[in-house]
């Protein structure tokens, strides 16, 4: 949860990373079940809030965890935190599902993974352990004022433009943008290392 103490956040992030490593190394089903129990219901919420039906949100959450199993060997704990890594899996599945809905192409998610590969070089995070980044991000989020946090959250799972976010929150568009900017600046300041 966002209001966790930083220590809890760090130990959570490290625990999830260890579970993914166990899946990669030993095909550890207990570790997988623990990941499933925590993440699948949250990915389902993420998909529901992005407009997926109850059934397809459930299926997408299952697909996401299947991908966690088969991609665990690609998880690099030095590059991405566990929940950030699982977030990108869910994000790419959502893009894939939206495209299949529009029937524009029967793309596998591999294509979408490629679309997020923008760099030939090493990960941008070198120097700062990913689990550390992850816990710092979570602590940083926990200190954001509610109105800024709400704009950040809506930016992530609501398939709507900022103009519509403005409508939802009944605030002017300029306010959405300025809150997002404030939130980003604050995150930058708290994270320090990423800019």
């Amino acid at each position: 949860m966002l209001n966790d103490k930083p220590d809890d956040a760090t130990s959570d992030a490290a625990r999830w990373a260890a579970l993914i490593a166990a899946v990669a190394r030993e095909k550890d089903r207990e570790a997988f079940a623990a990941l499933f129990t925590h993440f699948a219901p949250r990915i389902k919420t993420f998909m529901r809030r992005s407009g997926a039906s109850e059934q397809s949100a459930d299926e997408l959450a299952q697909e996401a965890l299947l991908a966690v199993w088969s991609k665990a060997n690609l998880f690099d704990p030095n590059s991405a935190g566990a929940s950030a890594w699982i977030f990108t899996i869910a994000r790419n599945l959502r893009i894939d599902a939206l495209r299949r809905e529009k029937r524009t192409r029967t793309a596998g998610t591999d294509d979408i993974d490629l679309e997020f590969q923008v760099d030939d070089g090493p990960s941008p995070d070198a120097g700062l352990a990913a689990a550390q980044t992850e816990s710092r991000v979570r602590s940083a989020l926990a200190t954001l004022p509610d109105d800024q946090l709400r704009v950040i959250e809506l930016s992530f799972f609501d398939d709507r433009a900022h103009a519509e976010i403005a409508q939802t929150l009944q605030i002017p568009l300029g306010t959405v943008k300025s809150r997002l900017r404030l939130a980003m600046n604050r995150l930058r300041g708290l994270l320090g290392d990423f800019s």
Partner: protein, 217 residues
């Protein structure tokens, strides 16, 4: 390469969140290919995405979902890293494009106006945003225009200037409907840009109105 102009925060956030259509995604990805700073911002926003995901309330999975998934695990082969393929047939002669765009089938340059050539990017997905490469020779002065939608321009080679500043390789120029552009190519080499555009261009002035039917962008 010193990058001065970056995409606005809300675009980088939307990229990390996976909310952009493919055309917009290509424009931001092109900037990211050359901009370590914005790559770090996106990476951090992915961590924010992880934080947001973890903080969401749980929605109960359907009964037996875990068991159903577990029976499918044995049949799954481990994933292979999606390595960078070297495309032989793609867009190989333009620097600064992200790897996945280099893999797209190539079209040829088309003349669209004196000293200006355009090369469409054929996307594998339908997208409300059109993407094309624009090549302008040194000294070209583009006709003043406004947009009905938005326009994202990534400079790949050369440079140009307009009222909003000077733009060189790696820079990102974001124009919305309000922008008035009179663009001057001020480099000694060709200026090649990747442009993602929604809406129509409106050329201003009598010459522009005469040319409008000829220039299909």
């Amino acid at each position: 390469m010193t990058i001065v102009h970056h995409p606005p925060d809300e675009l980088l956030t939307a990229f990390a969140a996976g909310m952009l259509d493919l055309g917009q995604h290509i424009a931001v990805a092109t900037h990211l290919t050359g901009c370590r700073h914005c790559r770090r911002v996106v990476h951090a926003m992915e961590h924010v995405g992880g934080g947001v995901l973890t903080a969401l309330p749980a929605t109960a999975m359907s009964p037996g979902a875990l068991a159903a998934v577990e029976t499918r695990l044995d049949g799954l082969a481990p994933a292979v890293a999606t390595g960078l393929r070297k495309a032989a047939t793609g867009i190989t002669d333009v620097p600064g494009l992200p790897p996945f765009v280099r893999d797209y089938p190539s079209s040829s340059w088309k003349w669209i106006a004196p000293k200006v050539h355009l090369r469409p990017i054929r996307m594998p997905e339908a997208s409300a945003t059109r993407v094309f490469l624009l090549k302008s020779q040194p000294g070209t002065k583009m006709i003043e225009h406004t947009h009905t939608g938005f326009e994202m321009t990534c400079i790949l080679t050369g440079s140009f200037a307009h009222a909003g500043g000077h733009f060189g390789p790696g820079d990102f120029d974001f124009g919305d409907g309000a922008t008035d552009h009179e663009v001057m190519i001020d480099s000694s080499e060709d200026c090649i840009c990747l442009v993602a555009m929604q809406g129509e261009l409106k050329l201003n002035g009598i010459i522009g109105r005469l040319l409008q039917p000829l220039i299909r962008m």
